[in-house]
Amino acid sequence: MKVRDVIIRDISAVFEDETVENFVVMCAKQLRSGLPVVDEDMVVIGFISESDIINATVPSYFSLLQSTSFLPDTHQLVSRFARIKDKKVSEFMSTPPITVREDDSLMHAADLLIRRRMKSIPVVDSYGRLVGFVTRMQILRGAMEKRWEV
């Protein structure tokens, strides 16, 4: 099976100069966990996910603690988000972007999703332009439907 068998042809994306707040609003309204970041030619130049924003709003020393449940809620999350909401997504996006092509194998896409801990991967054409995305669930559904055919 190829990526083209399960691709979702949706070219929703954010531009690198758009704000974090705009990205969060888009994801919330479209029920997406992350979006490709594109340039003016729609070439994918990065990827920004909800994890990138949560990482930026959680204090860095948290990663050194085994548990943070004992810490009192001092609204740090709220205040730290307020500090970054007007910043550009380019400051928080992952680069270089992990992408796949339509003729890549589904196994390759599944491997990338697990290895890179991503929930979706942008699909690009030979110019690197966004043509859609694949999700973990699309891969599972594709594999399940193929099984009935076999």
Partner: protein, 318 residues
């Protein structure tokens, strides 16, 4: 992707088939197939027909809320090859309800206005529209505008597409449609005359009113003009003349749903094939007749359309 369709005010279309429909009465649907829910809005309808004809296209528009997500999901499920690029706003996408009564040959439609779109979302949409334009050959801007969209917005979309050398189709009605025709007329124009018959300040009453309006839109710069006339006919114009196309068969009014969108899709196919604008209009008429053969909005093939190229009479008016 060869075509970009713009639907600023998409809808969830709900079609109910109710024989002997009457107001003030309780109606029960006989079976589930008598109630169908499909993605709608004129541009989206054109996208679905183009996809069924094998023409790759991208659908853009402004969706909202839970109903908007149903529109997107259904569009994705029914036509996975259509590329989507929607912007979301607050509120809810509208629902358009159509009651088809095949016994009395009537269609009753209830359309709602759609969500209020903010300035910010219109800017986001425009930016994405500009990025998508270079990847297509032709742009179709169809349907009504939701609250919040001012008269100049569609003109901005048309100007941007024309400045990039794209062929622009427009099907609509109302003040923003008039403004586009006057300021930067698209190459292919179809007035949506279902609800009102006033375009560019002219009330359309007599046949000659349609002919004069078609000529005026042509003078404003259109290469092809379509004005539907009394259900069975269309007054059409190109630089070469004005004609009346009239379907040869009897037309069931209850089968008219989606014919305008099919007309546009047929014309898109012919423009992409580089046919003359007169042939473009003939393909549009043939596609509309192919759609009439079905009770509901349906999928068309190129063979369906070409089969109907002789199904209408052509009368040269000027």
């Amino acid at each position: 992707m060869r075509v970009l369709t713009v639907t600023l005010n998409p809808a969830l279309d709900r079609e109910l088939i109710l024989p002997n429909f009457a107001i003030n009465k309780l109606h029960r649907l006989r079976n589930p197939s008598d109630s169908v829910m499909t993605p709608g809005g004129k541009g989206i309808n054109v996208s679905m027909i183009l996809d069924s004809m094998g023409i790759s296209n991208v659908a853009m528009g402004i969706l909202a809320g839970y109903v908007g997500r149903i529109v997107e999901e259904e569009l994705r499920r029914l036509h996975p090859d259509i590329t989507l690029n929607f912007v979301y706003t607050d509120g809810e996408t509208r629902e358009n309800i159509t009651v088809i009564d095949p016994m009395n040959d009537t269609i009753t439609e209830i359309n709602s206005p759609g969500p209020l779109v903010s300035e910010r979302e219109l800017e986001i949409f425009y930016k994405r529209y500009l990025m998508t334009l270079p990847r297509v050959e032709l742009v179709v801007i169809s349907g009504s505008a939701p609250p919040g969209v001012d008269e100049g917005y569609c003109l901005k979309l048309v100007k941007a597409a024309k400045s990039k050398g794209k062929v622009v189709f427009m099907e609509s009605i109302g003040p923003f449609f008039d403004r586009v025709l006057q300021k930067d007329c698209p190459q292919v124009v179809r007035a949506d005359l279902r609800k009102e018959k006033r375009v560019l300040g002219h009330e359309l009453k007599e046949f000659q009113d349609y002919v004069e309006l078609a000529k005026e839109i042509r003078r404003l710069g259109a290469k092809a003009v379509v004005l539907s006339y009394k259900i069975v006919s269309d007054v059409v114009a190109t630089e070469e003349g004005v004609w009346k196309f009239t379907i040869k068969d009897h037309v069931e009014v209850s089968h008219l749903l989606g014919t305008g969108d099919a007309f546009v899709a047929g014309m898109v196919y012919a423009v992409l094939k580089s046919l003359s604008y007169y042939e473009v209009l003939k393909y549009g008429m043939a596609a509309a007749i192919a759609e009439i053969r079905h009770l509901r909005k349906s999928e068309l093939s190129i063979e369906d359309i070409e089969r109907e190229l002789q199904s209408f009479d052509i009368e040269r008016i000027e």
